[in-house]
Symmetry: C2
Subunit: 182 residues, 2 copies
DNA sequence: GGCCCCATGTAATGGGTTACATGATTGC
DNA sequence: GCAATCATGTAACCCATTACATGGGGCC
């Protein structure tokens, strides 16, 4: 049930499906992803439900784009979703289910597994630190006096930094335990 | 693709679908969940693929149970999944997508949202601390000298403690920021 | 000419949730 | 007698992924 609401959140201003996909890839992919093959039908459905309207835009260069924008009912639906409180207990962490059964493979393979996890999350942490730094340099109101929309986005970044930092530490702690038994 | 492998991990010893569901509810639900309506057909499919065998058990009390156990091929499949490395970039955090758009609702509603998050994760943290403590009391080898299977499970608990602690701190930090602007 | 990017879509398949259906036993 | 728990399943629906299809423009 989240995708339609995420799309409503993204189409405050007229926006194309293709543009939305890029926002997923650049920003939201840390905690959500959606494919174009999902986005286009979902936008169409929002329009059929009266939660969004669309108009064609034919720019000078490039192919025509279909721009969607949410209606008043769309905004109401979005707010209802948010005011209904957090949607919890829906996490699916593939890599953790793997860790749970990691005793099934030999010790050296377990170490390789955690080294891969460590590499992946270290890089993600560096990316987020980079975003944090450049935002901090660009806006003197950062991080505690941002306007509402930016503040909400900054909250998600703030969690990313804390959480991924914890995951990197966890990888190092597990690697230490595994290596101490060789 | 994870569920069949998780089931293979759980049916090292003969186990019923109902029992597996309880393991999900008691242990794995922190990072994965599956319904009985998913588990029963998935077990049947494993049997059809030759990755598991089943036998009926008719105990003195209670209804008959169908016990599944993985075959050698099933074990090979499980190990292949683990040795293939971690499955990454598949997270879907519903509540974070909500936070991302939280600027759409008034400030007092935002505070309520974070208070709910804080309550939920604080309770989950307490549960995990409880598990950690009692395990520590029951086994002198805890946490660094456990046998392979238990060590792997302990690794998932270790991440839970670090990560949920980070989330609780995040909630407090965001609430502080939100309250400072009232 | 061939490849990548922009831009929109459909079709087939697989994974997951909700609702429905059955029947025995345990506890109040 | 009734509700809850044990135990197994099917059917319908919705959500997500992969593959396929189309067509213009820029670049080498």
């Amino acid at each position: 049930m989240s995708l339609p609401n995420i799309l409503l959140g993204l189409i405050k201003e007229p926006t194309s499906g293709y543009e939305i996909k890029q926002t997923f890839e650049q920003v939201l992919h840390y905690f959500w992803n959606a494919d174009l093959a999902q986005i286009y039908p979902a936008l169409k459905k929002l329009e059929q439900q009266g939660l969004a309207t669309s108009q064609m835009a034919a720019p000078d260069k490039g192919p025509p784009r279909k721009l969607y924008q949410r209606t008043t009912e769309g905004t109401q639906q979005l707010r209802a979703w948010l005011q209904d409180g957090p949607q919890l207990n829906t996490e699916r962490l593939h890599y953790l289910t793997q860790v749970f059964f990691l005793g099934e493979i030999p010790s050296n393979k377990r170490i390789t597994f955690f080294e891969r996890l460590h590499d992946y999350f270290s890089q993600q942490l560096n990316e987020l630190i980079e975003v944090d730094n450049s935002w901090s340099n660009d806006d003197p109101r950062y991080p505690d006096n941002l306007p509402d929309r930016e503040q909400a986005m900054q909250f998600t970044l703030r969690l990313g930094l804390l959480k991924i930092n914890a995951i990197v530490q966890w990888c190092e702690s597990c690697l230490k335990t595994l290596n101490s038994k060789l």
